[in-house]
Subunit: 181 residues, 2 copies
């Protein structure tokens, strides 16, 4: 059932939500909104739409004006594929790659002081993200459209996630050997 990789659905979804757009605009929107839970290299956002157009899920149009940018529109097949994907509650496992957790895992092989330095940096970093998500959430118009609600739901997860991690790293910095939650 997973006919396409998740990055493909990011492209379909953004175009479905905001209307036809260029790869460059896709890139901006991915950076702003999607990077935290599905990073995509900018070059991919030129490769993927071209491929989806080949497959008939997008339609490619070239500007006649000056820059002759390529604009990608959603087709009916594209929308159908997106809706099939959304309707399937069975998704692959999440994957995390966190170099800081790796260093913490191997901390017993290094110097004891390394842990505190690492944890201090990580705590700062996660506090930063937490503040970022909270401010985005504060900016959200309470207008009750489903777009804003989708956004708010995910920002709530971002906040909970960053809060848990920030508190964890702070507690490691304060007491590396603490065992209780």
């Amino acid at each position: 059932m997973a006919e396409y990789s998740p990055a493909r659905y990011v492209v379909l979804g953004l175009i479905a939500r905001h209307g036809a757009m260029t790869p460059y605009e896709l890139k901006s929107r991915v950076e702003d909104d999607i990077q935290p839970f599905w990073p995509i290299l900018h070059a991919q956002l030129y490769r993927i739409p071209a491929e989806l157009a080949q497959a008939g899920l997008l339609r490619e149009e070239t500007e006649t004006a000056g820059r002759r940018r390529r604009i990608f529109h959603l087709t009916a097949e594209g929308r159908a594929a997106l809706e099939r994907w959304l309707a399937d509650p069975d998704t692959p496992e999440a994957e995390t790659r966190d170099p800081a957790q790796l260093k913490l895992f191997f901390a017993d092989l290094g110097a004891a002081a390394d842990i505190v330095a690492l944890a201090t940096r990580q705590a700062e970093r996660h506090r930063g993200w937490l503040a970022h998500y909270e401010s985005l959430r504060a900016d959200l118009d309470p207008a009750e459209d489903s777009r804003q609600r989708s956004r708010a739901r995910l920002l709530r997860l971002g906040v909970l996630h960053e809060r848990a991690h920030a508190e964890f790293w702070e507690s490691v910095a304060a007491d590396p050997d603490r065992l209780d939650d």
Copy 2:
């Protein structure tokens, strides 16, 4: 300063901790302990040690007995590289790829009922991981060696992480439009 990719340090670290081993044993240990924060394909655990041996960070030895497996030992340079890495508190950002968050992000483009089905599955999944980490933590010998303490620290993060996610998805399943934490 990041001379090698994190996966390289996984190999160096496991050998530093447990002594010389074969790729197959690396594979088992990665699956058991490291997969949650740094997934590595098993084939990589045959490619990487060979490459590290080329670079002089490992020494390769071949069994004379029956199966003639390749056993990789840590060299002095290998240990030095590992320690340099551990001593550097500056690490790249964590990356997460979670298809479920992607579906939640685009939920407004699908049917309202999709959210509840998705959230229910995710809640189950995270509850499962939470139980897993808690049982691993319960099995941990309270013996005060630094190995066990390293393990315990990371399991604590696993527990906090899974608890936050499980609670989030449960609350989404119960009330998709809830806004407060």
